[in-house]
């Protein structure tokens, strides 16, 4: 039972803590897990989250930054005032919990449909597009000399990687071919500046409350690259959840997103953002194909995975809307 290890762990590094309770697994495959639990403390329970690779799982997928880097990035972001959970403890072998870290749990909503529809968020919604622009600017300004070692890829290398992923699926899709050609023809070349890129900044990874954005989660795809990638990814239609006329995450307009970014002292290159939006749409489509392939080959033979495979066609219509829009 994980609560026994957690209890031993928190007693060692959290002053006054007497144990851990209410542990529940939130998500994760075999190699990476997320758990929520409460630290039992005389001043009242402290909400916490454990992110870990269980014992015996060391190797992270090639694109992942790794849990140690994730912990370091979240702590840096927290210190710089970017909404992010505070990292409370980085696991050591004595914790007997595998590798990873424990962070503060931030209450709020991550389910996009609720954020975009429920009354609770009505006051926050009109401000969110501008706010996430400001947060992205803060994230892109994190001091590079303090960053952990991260992969670095240019737009051209990314196109090459997506093309390999797509070809390995053996899944002929004329619309994806068209998108790959378009990306090659519109490759903006190396970015003037390279910054930290979150890599998965979108609905689902943003904790939102009635007061607005409270935390940015899931830094596992963080890398060094073109900062416009994050602005393009958050505009991908797949994260608008029906609010298709509000490109910035279903919250608001590109103009509001860009205004928030520029008000925080950084410049937007709108053409590069569009390039990354097309790239992001194709990226999600190819990921749907990957789900289909994993469903077929096992071991995760789940219905959910099968159905995500059938969502690739959503990205095909979105690519056509971007690349071959119909009149009116």
């Amino acid at each position: 039972m994980i609560e026994a290890e957690l209890s031993r762990s928190v007693r060692r590094w959290c002053k006054g803590a007497t144990g851990a309770t209410s542990a529940a697994k939130l998500s994760g495959g075999a190699s990476q897990e997320t758990w929520r639990f409460d630290i039992v403390h005389p001043d009242g329970p402290i909400g916490a989250i454990l992110r870990r690779s269980p014992k015996g799982y060391g190797a992270a997928p090639t694109r992942a930054a790794g849990l140690a880097a994730e912990a370091q990035l979240m702590q840096l972001a927290y210190e710089a005032g970017v909404p992010s959970p505070r990292v409370m403890h980085v696991l050591t072998p004595e914790d007997d919990l595998g590798t990873g870290f424990i962070m503060q749990r931030i209450e709020g909503e991550t389910i996009a449909r609720k954020i975009l529809r429920d009354d609770e968020f009505a006051a926050a919604r009109p401000r969110l597009a501008r706010q996430i622009g400001g947060v992205l600017a803060g994230l892109h300004k994190l001091p590079q000399d303090k960053l952990p070692a991260l992969r670095s890829r240019s737009a051209s290398e990314e196109i090459g990687e997506f093309e390999r992923d797509y070809r390995s699926l053996n899944w002929p899709k004329p619309v994806f071919e068209l998108a790959l050609r378009w990306l090659r023809d519109h490759d903006p070349g190396p970015s003037d500046e390279t910054t930290l890129v979150h890599g998965d900044f979108r609905n689902g990874n943003l904790v939102i409350g009635a007061d607005g954005l409270r935390a940015v989660l899931d830094w596992e795809l963080a890398h060094l690259g073109d900062p416009m990638e994050d602005l393009g990814w958050v505009c991908v239609n797949s994260w608008r959840f029906g609010e298709i006329d509000k490109p910035a995450g279903g919250f608001g307009s590109r103009e509001e997103l860009f205004a928030g970014y520029e008000a925080a002292g950084r410049k937007v290159d709108a053409a590069r953002v569009t390039f990354w939006e097309v790239m992001g749409t194709l990226r999600w489509g190819i990921m749907c194909g990957g789900m289909m392939q994993r469903f077929r080959e096992g071991p995760d033979h789940s219905m959910e995975r099968a159905m995500i495979g059938r969502r690739a066609s959503e990205t095909e219509i979105d690519l056509l809307r971007l690349l071959a829009p119909r009149g009116g």
Binding site: P174, E177, R181, I244, E304, E314, R326
Partner: protein
């Protein structure tokens, strides 16, 4: 020839049973999974109903576009290759219309409630 009822009638009756009789009895994660299962049956029912007609029209368009014959998968493979080689692009007469029609037919089966699809359907092609 197989006997009746047809596969469409069979998947539909199972989906209706799960939706009407079983759904109200369960909750939590099992209810979520049941909803996914019902969505799968609904998708399969739509595909069985629409696939033959839309595939036949897709093959017809592909034959005209590529001046060759083959199964729907072979023709799609050939089109994908020609786009990859740059022999065919959006300036090619008929390509954009073909991709739009094919994609609309897919969404009608996969995700008829997807907002982009509903918007484009409203345009009336």
């Amino acid at each position: 020839m197989q006997d009746e009822p047809t596969p469409i009638e069979l998947t539909k009756t199972v989906a209706d049973f799960l939706r009407g009789d079983i759904m109200p009895l369960i909750s939590g994660h099992q209810a979520f999974k049941l909803r996914v299962a019902i969505n799968i049956l609904d998708l399969v029912t739509r595909q069985l109903t629409q696939e033959a007609g839309s595939d036949a029209k897709e093959v017809e368009r592909l034959r005209a576009l590529l001046s060759m014959d083959g199964s729907v998968i072979e023709l799609n493979r050939a089109l994908a290759e020609r786009i990859a080689k740059g022999e065919v692009d959006l300036a090619t007469p008929g390509l954009a219309e073909h991709l739009w029609q094919t994609t609309m037919d897919k969404l009608a089966v996969d995700q008829p409630n997807y907002a982009s699809y509903k918007r484009e359907l409203g345009r009336g092609g």
